[in-house]
Amino acid sequence: MSHSETHALKQMQSDHHDESHGSVKTYLIGFVLSIILTAIPFYMVITLHLL
């Protein structure tokens, strides 16, 4: 395999990885959503407690 072929293959593989594993941005969006969606029920139950 020539050097350029190896490079092209690596490029293809890394492109594929970006697709299937997400980026920092998508991870952060998921993280923020998970925090918000977790905080809402916690807040609801804790305020129910104080009433």
Binding site: Q13, S14, H17, D18, H21, G22, S23, V24, Y27, L28, G30, F31, S34, I35, T38, P41, F42, V45, I46, L48, H49
Partner: protein, 213 residues
């Protein structure tokens, strides 16, 4: 006859070397199979958790005159546990991104942070269990406490297994770098870790939030 067997042998060798050759080219496909297999394992694990959840749902009212969820659950404490696990999920995500970019030191750093968060979670859970048992609310007191300790303990054991696996992966990454098989193993551990995070979301909703209501 000897010519025939020699021919067969050479044909065999041929097919073996051909398989090896094909194998080297199909390596990417193999890692996909591994990850698919791990998904299947996770689904069987999901069934195991489902049965523990069903048991808890049936038994949680049976407190045998002892404490109920309302008496023993401390939501602030559980909120911190939940935060530790949620944050550990995104730090593992960062470790995977670093691993895909072949950044060894960064991968190890994120894995170590994830490990610390997981260990903090387990530490808090052991403290909670110890606290309950010391105050006479051990798993033998009532059906509620048995099912509570079983469900939360099962999740805790999974997280502990994940921490042991993570230690092994950190050693592997440090020694061998980020080769393809290593990244595949990291992907499986990442699936396992995110899966346990989702199970914990169900545990704190069903056990702690609904129990404290």
């Amino acid at each position: 006859v000897s010519t025939l067997s020699a021919n067969l042998e050479s044909a065999n060798l041929d097919s073996v070397s051909h398989d090896d050759h094909a194998h080297a080219h199909d390596h990417h496909d193999t890692s996909g199979d591994t990850i698919f297999g791990f998904w299947l394992y996770l689904m069987t694990d999901c069934l195991l958790f489902a049965s523990f959840f069903a048991t808890y749902a049936v038994l949680f009212m049976n407190t045998a005159g002892g404490v109920s969820g309302k008496d023993i659950f401390e939501l602030d404490f559980v909120a911190v546990e939940t935060a530790a696990l949620l944050i550990s999920s995104i730090t593992f995500g960062f470790a995977m991104i670093a691993a895909q970019g072949q950044k060894k030191a960064l991968t190890l750093t994120w894995l170590f942070i994830t490990f610390c968060l997981g260990a903090a979670f387990i530490g808090m859970e052991i403290y909670e269990f110890h606290h309950l048992i010391v105050h006479g609310n051990g798993p033998q007191q009532s059906a509620f406490l048995t099912s509570f300790f079983s469900l939360v303990g099962l999740h805790g054991l999974h997280v502990t297994a994940g921490l042991i696996w993570m230690t092994i992966m950190m050693i592997e990454v440090a020694k061998r770098g980020l080769g393809k098989p290593t990244v595949t193993r990291l992907s499986c551990l990442s699936l396992f870790w995110h899966f346990l995070d989702i199970v914990w979301i169900c545990v704190f909703t069903v056990v702690y939030l609904m129990g404290a209501m």
